[in-house]
């Protein structure tokens, strides 16, 4: 291409390439480019998906521990507050106070950012791959509601996590305030119907996100096949349902007055 526009002097030094450049049709040029894909110039979509799968599994592992910890609220104020305090002392004296917690937090932050960045890149690519939308109202042949709401669902879940941190971790958005114990904050929250709603709705969304996410992780990491597909789908549905039900036990106990 450059040979065509280059001055005669430059052409004289490489006459063959100049001639070849002149003879190539646009189609041939396109074909030549395609034959030598510029590998590495664009991060592979499968690698991005693998990052999403692994970071997603890390976050789910955390959620399982978080859910089990939350069930402690059923054992009363003493047990729950003691558990909360114990989390800050794990590994002492080898680790400083809250050391283990900060290792977990940094790990989770890395997972959250990796998940978000990959999702953003893949979303932008998906939008660019379909610049003109179909006029016919799109009929879903196969896709589920859960799989269609992954992207916006993810954004809503992020907003919920930020609120959740301000509410129960930092306490600034909590009715009982920053000075209250974890147990009192928990109870103060779910005695108010609008806070119950602010937790239940995102948790159900999270459940759907995890259902498709878990299935998707198996597929992305190449662990799925036709025979296992049914089992993986059942596992994804079962595990996300159990996890979300586990999270709902605490708030439900406050609502019906078992925990107060």
């Amino acid at each position: 291409m450059s040979a065509v526009s280059s001055p005669p002097k430059a052409q004289a030094t490489s006459p063959t390439s100049a001639q070849a450049g002149n003879r190539l049709s646009p189609v041939a040029v396109h074909a030549q480019k395609a034959r030598k894909p510029r590998t590495g110039s664009r991060r592979s979509s499968i690698l991005l998906k693998a990052v999403m799968a692994v970071s997603g599994v890390v976050m789910i592992a955390f959620l399982v521990l978080h859910m089990i910890g939350n069930l402690k609220v059923l054992f009363g104020r003493e047990d729950f507050n003691h558990y909360s305090h114990w989390l800050r002392t794990i590994g002492e004296p080898a680790l400083p106070h809250e050391g283990f917690l900060w290792i977990m937090r940094v790990g989770l932050l890395v997972a959250v950012f990796a998940h978000m960045i990959s999702a953003t890149v893949l979303t932008v690519r998906a939008k660019r791959a379909r610049p003109v939308a179909y006029k016919a109202k799109r009929k879903s042949v196969q896709q589920t509601y859960a799989s269609r709401t992954m992207r916006w669902g993810g954004v809503i879940i992020l907003a919920y996590i930020l609120y959740h941190l301000l509410d129960l971790t930092l306490g600034v958005a909590n009715p009982a305030g920053t000075g209250a114990t974890p147990y009192d904050r928990f109870v103060a929250d779910f005695q108010r119907w609008y806070i119950v709603a602010a937790y239940v709705v995102p948790l159900v969304l999270l459940g759907m996100h995890l259902r498709h996410g878990l299935w998707s992780a198996f597929q992305t990491l190449g662990l799925s096949n036709a025979r296992r597909q049914r089992g993986i789908n059942l596992f994804a549905t079962g595990a996300s349902t159990l996890l979300i039900l586990g999270f709902l036990v605490g708030p439900a106990a406050v609502v019906i007055g078992v925990v107060k």
Partner: protein, 246 residues
């Protein structure tokens, strides 16, 4: 049968294009979808209008040339059927049918319902082949292939490259097409020497061409006229991650 057709009309690649409505009064339920369009085109020609351009060749459901998005579903709602094998008896009298071309950035519209699917050729060129010395044919039994492998490979090899998977995918991903070829060749002994380089080159080429990523939704396999299973994508992912780890 009386039908109202809403068809995407676009003069050329640079034209903005628009939906145009046509009335068709005497459609036989025994016509194929393409024959129905032939009837419309004969009328348009008689009226001195430009006929609707669409791709077709064998009309036997095997060449992969035909394909249009019918009422929002590639090849129409009838499962495991190409547009040419879709018959008008599956539609209701008086129905309004929307007909659009495949929509994907790597498949630019050439005219009306015709899109340029050369992008698929680029993916195949990148690695959808095996390198063998040509000449005299080898003895057929020299390389044994286990029957289950042969069956699975064939299940993937029936891909006709029509592009319905890309058209159906909300992400405009070519994963099912690429995975079908990777599965087909990756299961055969002849495909082993280039297995790693093939999956790398084909997937990276699809990414470079501007196809989207897979979100494991399954629309592709649902509309595939040949029923290529979703597990081929899992196999492609597995092979790709293995090839990347080295």
């Amino acid at each position: 049968m009386k039908l109202t057709l809403q068809i995407w009309r676009q003069k050329n690649a640079d034209d903005a294009g628009r939906m145009v409505t046509y009335q068709l009064d005497d459609v036989s339920p025994d016509m194929s979808f393409l024959e129905m369009l032939d009837v419309l085109n004969e009328r348009l020609i008689l009226e001195g209008e430009e006929p609707v351009a669409f791709d077709h060749d064998c009309r036997e459901g095997i060449c992969g040339m035909c394909g249009m998005v019918i009422n929002g579903v590639p090849h129409g709602e009838q499962r495991a059927t190409t547009t040419c094998q879709l018959h008008m008896r599956h539609f209701k009298d008086g129905e309004t049918i929307t007909i659009e071309p495949w929509r994907a950035a790597p498949f630019p519209v050439v005219k009306d319902l015709v899109v340029d699917r050369s992008a698929f050729d680029r993916i195949i060129e990148a690695g959808g082949y095996i390198s063998v010395p040509t000449g005299s044919a080898p003895e057929a039994h020299a390389v044994p292939v286990p029957k289950p492998d042969a069956d699975k490979a064939f299940e993937a090899a029936v891909c006709i490259g029509c592009g319905a998977c890309v058209a159906a995918c909300p992400n405009g991903s070519a994963s099912l097409f690429t995975a079908a070829k990777i599965t087909h060749l990756g299961l055969m002994p002849q495909g082993q020497p280039e297995r790693d380089s093939r999956v790398k080159a084909m997937v990276d080429t699809a990414d470079e061409l501007g196809f989207g990523g897979c979100t494991n939704i399954g629309e592709c396999t649902a509309v595939c006229p040949k029923g290529i299973p979703l597990e081929t994508i899992a196999r492609m992912n597995r092979d790709y991650l293995k090839a990347t780890r080295g």
